[in-house]
Symmetry: C2
Subunit: 220 residues, 2 copies
DNA sequence: TAGTGTGAATTTCTTCACAGCG
DNA sequence: CGCTGTGAAGAAATTCACACTA
């Protein structure tokens, strides 16, 4: 009776655990404790155990977790038994960098096509990735069986790209454009906004330098 | 008596509100309600009001928020009264894409230098960004007054880059390398891992296609 | 005995709902 | 009257602490 709903916070950490497990397996390690795994994943041991318990009971009391077994279960949970073809909308600096990025293919996310409005790019092939005009998006998604759409267009074009992906049946989107997208609830959407990340860091810089200038907080 | 500790969850949303406010100001809008702002930022109105209340009382009951005033307060909270110079360690696909990215300079985060071990790159200047050898990191950080370090090296070199940045006095890091970094508590660290993002999407794809295959969950 | 798995306590975040002000 | 600002309720995530077992 595996009552499934794995918490989102846990889901977001599973890929990190998986990466650590792959590294450990590569080093020939056969067993890890929650403590060791926590150290390597940058979290605490209680969280590791709680997270892993959502996948089932794959540990052995007094011993730890079998690396190979846990890795397999984790891969399965993350859907990595499949390969998920990725298509990229917008072939500017970021889109191109992603297309060239080897890590994606290696980890089961081959970039199979890209789209751009630039006539100089359309029809060309960059690092094995063919660049199409956005008009062909629906057809190319169908042909390639693309599962994930990456949006790397300018902000002004991002919602339209998202709409096209959704209309073409893509149910997972990764948005790099600096704008909020609206998609139907059955579509998974994640956003990576580089300027937002820098501004969050800026907030902390401002806080601490302000604190330094003005003196420490009052002790309670 | 402004008891400051703004919740992290709120801090992460402030940049999104700011972007919306800048857009609104550009459109000549002078006032927004929490409802409108919520719609544009992709959250709900109660959250907007609670978030903004942490900055102070900058709204007018019955009317809404003054766009210009709120924008100013938000910029101040995010430390955007300063410009924060950025340096990039690792000048591969991602590092280069970041260096070329116009949005950073425009929004107060000029990329002032990059580092790479590749002898063909060292000494060159790409899009106005000089590329140095990592040995010069401390000196260049001091000269440029860099406030934020971006790590775009291979995973194996990332911790060393982080250590060098920290030793040079950089107190904010943005890590793109697929590995967990350890830094002292006074250093702010954020991580962007593209493969992790794809794997999270993969999880949801696996869930929903599994659900579709196996039928709906039991009600109750 | 060492370390998992998990209820319970705690903290953090979100949402509700409404008093109060312009 | 309309909308903010906020206590209070609720939900989610984290952490504690320990019974249990390989």
């Amino acid at each position: 009776m595996t009552a499934r709903p794995i918490p989102e916070a846990t889901v977001a950490r599973l890929p990190v655990y998986l990466r650590v497990l792959v590294d450990l397996a590569g080093d020939g390690v056969e067993t890890v404790s929650s403590e060791e795994l926590a150290e390597l994943a940058g979290v605490n041991a209680a969280k590791v155990r709680k997270d892993l318990s959502h996948l089932g009971s794959y540990g052995t009391r007094g011993v730890g977790y079998d690396v190979a077994r846990l890795r397999l279960q984790m891969s399965r949970a993350l859907g990595l038994v499949h390969t998920w073809p990725v298509v990229i909308a917008g072939f500017g600096n970021i889109g191109r960098a992603l297309a060239k990025h080897e890590g994606f293919r290696e980890r089961g996310f081959p970039v199979v096509a890209a789209f751009d409005v630039d006539p100089d790019l359309v029809g060309s092939t960059v690092e094995g990735v063919p660049v199409h005009h956005p008009d062909e998006l629906t057809a190319v998604v169908a042909e390639t069986g693309a599962a994930i759409g990456v949006i790397a267009t300018p902000a002004a074009a991002a919602q339209q790209a998202a709409d096209q992906f959704v209309a073409a049946g893509v149910r997972a989107l990764l948005n790099f454009a600096p704008t909020v997208l609206t998609v139907p609830p059955e579509v998974s959407l994640r956003a990576v906004d580089l300027v937002v990340e820098l501004q969050i860091l800026g907030f902390h810089l401002a806080q601490t330098s302000e604190g330094a200038r003005r003196g420490r907080r009052s002790a309670s």
